[in-house]
Amino acid sequence: MRVTKGAQIVTATALLALAVAACGGSGDTSSSSSGSAAAGNASAVRVEIAEPQHDLIPGNTTETSGAEVLNALFVGLVDYDADKKPFNRIAESIESTDSTTWTIKLKDGYKWHNGEPVVAQNFVDSWNYTANGANAQEGNYFFGSIAGYDELNPGEGKTPSATTLTGLKVVDDKTFTVQLKNPFSGFPTMLGYTAFSPLPKAAFESEGKLKADFGSNPIGNGPFKISKPWKRGTDQTISTVRNEEFKEGKAKVEAVDFKIYTDLATAFNDLRAGNLDIMDQLPAEAIATAKQEFGDRYIEQPSSGIGYIGFPVVSGADYAKNADIRKAISMAIDRKTITETVFSGTRVPADDFISPVVAGYRQGACGEACTYDPAKAKALFQQAGGDKMSEIVIGYNGDGGHKEWIEAIANNLRTNLGAKVTPKPVEKFATILDDLGAKKWTGSFRMAWIMDYPSPENYLRPQFGSGGSSNYSGFKSKEFDDLLTKADAAKTLDEGVKYYQQADDLVLKELPYIPVYFYQTNGAYSQHVKNVKIDPFERIDLFNVEKA
């Protein structure tokens, strides 16, 4: 579903942050703006974000900055605990006997900021709106597994033949049912993401049409509410105050200000000077300083992204089609050195196709294939006839800060395998994807993936399943597909995970992609706050943040 926006997560510079420059109102002291604690609410916790790409509409937000803000304003059906497993928030229960038809019951007592209760219709309205192709919402694809999605997204030049998903039915105020196209045991794990938030009645001007100003002054149902309308492109701060009526109790802090920066290095300086409280992304060059300077207040944890080297296993060059060669290449990559030097420790060596933030990840699952062993790698390479094959090409996009690590891998392969290697920069990543789609790209290529929802399925099916939406390697295995189907139809999440892991083992043996590194979340916070936690979606748990 989602290939990472390299630019967004790969580089920590303003030049590549996919945000538009922010602006501080009228530009004088009376405006809301970033700066000293004097600005905005004096008691507010100040959080760094880049400018959200869109207005604050849950279904139209798929980037981390916007999701950060919406996570404070809205709560959804489920959230994720320390074991990465979903736990119910608004949902009383999410049940199914066949993993296809799901019955979702809601708890009492959750209210919108305008006082109305949260009802089943709010979820159905919101999902129908986002799933409707005519509304061009970024989160549209999240609803692809629900029955009726295809009628709402008929493709180019056609108008949707429906306005609602046939798979959604409101039973009563506290119950609705979801009919999926195919069984999927991991469905509840999807529901904690921003795109699945409900929307209040007040958001809609008429049936299926959002009010124009809702995105700048959203009415949410979360622990914080917006305290003054946010003008995108103008205001440098998004101000929120505590929702005193929140069902789960009051948040620990009175207010949160999201301060928009275009440059992480600048934000980090503001954090050090005490003008900012929490950053969940640090500039790479500041990692070493941050570890020293912040000590316990430095956060380092895995994030959901994985970086790969991929191969067109069906239509590629001779080396790309050969599983032994792929394994030899994988063993010749010195992941430890690359993550420590090229990425200054902001990435960690990868050893699975499932990220550590997801229940189902197994440390060392990749085994020998992902362990650096130049001697073995060379032996395997020669045994498979690698030295008689064409030179290895590694394609990457030149606009996302990938040059260094690709060059490092190329040097690994030259030194350890004696292979001829050509790194090949392309202007835009999409060019490589298009060429792969047209079977014109024969060499290897860089690839990365960020999860859409914390289920192993989201790492396996889109990338390696037959007809997967992002299956760029052309990998196809009936056994693999069957295992996924089995896992999807499982009765419980845990049983499903078992089959997903078996499918994972298959791909690890074949290595259509070579896992190179896991992305990490590096953050830090000031002395003014404590109990700062970051979830698998890289969202800060603002409900539990406290003043120190």
Binding site: A22, Q236, A273, N275
Partner: protein, 313 residues
């Protein structure tokens, strides 16, 4: 005088048309598809792309598109970005921020540049003169990227960490005019060096003029000679430089604005070029050209004030 101003303003119209068309052509000739930039690394959804091309006339020839653009501009509409934000919203407050920054820089420039230049000219050939020349050389050779980060770290972060006093804000514009001091100074550094040297040379020229010698021979106090005669006549090149510099500062404050997180037009311009938000780029450049034209006009009118021999009729 009034007729002269009117004529100059009328002359600005073809200039504006020419420059905006050039920018328009250049921006749209950049390689790659602006719609692809919207989608990041995902493939562009064909339905969405078709609708966008329709809305922004991307299928029309360049000249036709430019025609649409001029038509909109004349009616005061700068259009919308590909992300659906009115361009005028993006401008809101941004020109103001950049203008304040540029003015702060200009004031620093004028005070330091003219002061140092004057001092060097009067101490011509002595060690003070040489020191000033060496100092300006140093200033010119430090890029703003370096001076910006160093000053931000030392005066913004370290100073506050060690004394607890937030003398200079690290970033943003939350402290009113104080927010502009540091970035203004950083932005001014390079120009200060030029202006110092310009002042020095220009004043030395004037000091050698006959009327200065006459004035001194008449026994006029030294201060009056300098102030009334020499300096006033030397101001013409400086004012020219400062006027032209205003335009440069407005458009060239990208790095400074980024370092200090000032939501100004330079930062916006860079972001918009990167994101291929062509309507914003063209809009900003249009306004910058206008500022240039007006600044030049003001400079020309100032000549008449400074030098009575110049008359515009």
């Amino acid at each position: 005088m009034g007729r002269y101003v009117l004529r100059r303003l009328l002359q600005a119209i073809p200039v504006l048309l020419g420059t905006t068309f050039l920018i328009f052509a250049i921006v749209y000739a950049l390689p790659g598809d602006p719609l692809q930039a919207l989608a990041g690394e995902k493939r562009v959804d064909p339905v969405f792309a078709a609708a966008m091309r329709e809305q922004f006339h991307l299928n029309e020839p360049l000249v036709v598109r430019y025609g649409y653009y001029v038509r909109d501009i004349v009616s005061g509409n700068f259009g919308t970005t590909f992300r659906g934000l009115p361009v005028s919203t993006i401008f809101e407050g941004k020109f103001q921020v950049t203008f304040k920054l540029a003015m702060t820089a200009l004031i620093f420039e004028a005070i330091i540049g003219v002061g140092l230049g004057l001092w060097a000219a009067l101490r011509r050939g002595k060690w003070e003169d040489k020191a000033v020349l060496a100092f300006t050389l140093l200033l010119v050779s430090i890029p703003t990227l370096v001076s910006g980060f160093v000053l931000q770290l030392v005066l913004g972060v370290k100073f506050k960490q060690s004394t607890g006093l937030a003398l200079f804000p690290v970033a943003g514009i939350g402290d009113g005019l104080r927010s502009y001091l540091l970035p203004g100074f950083v932005l001014a550094t390079v120009s200060v060096a030029y202006l110092t040297r310009l002042t020095r040379t220009s004043l030395m020229e004037t000091l050698r003029a006959d009327y200065v010698r006459t004035a001194i021979a008449k026994g006029m106090p030294r201060r009056r000679v300098l102030g009334r005669h020499a300096l006033r006549n030397s101001l013409i090149p400086m004012v020219t430089y400062l006027g032209a510099d205003l335009g440069t500062l407005m458009g060239g404050a990208v790095i400074t604005e980024t370092i200090f997180n000032l939501p100004g037009i330079g930062q916006q311009l860079f972001q918009s070029v990167y994101l291929r938000e062509n309507p914003v780029v063209v809009g900003i450049v249009t306004v910058l050209v206008l500022i240039y034209i007006v600044a030049n006009l003001v400079v020309d009118l100032l000549y008449a004030v400074l030098d009575p021999r110049i008359r515009y009729e």
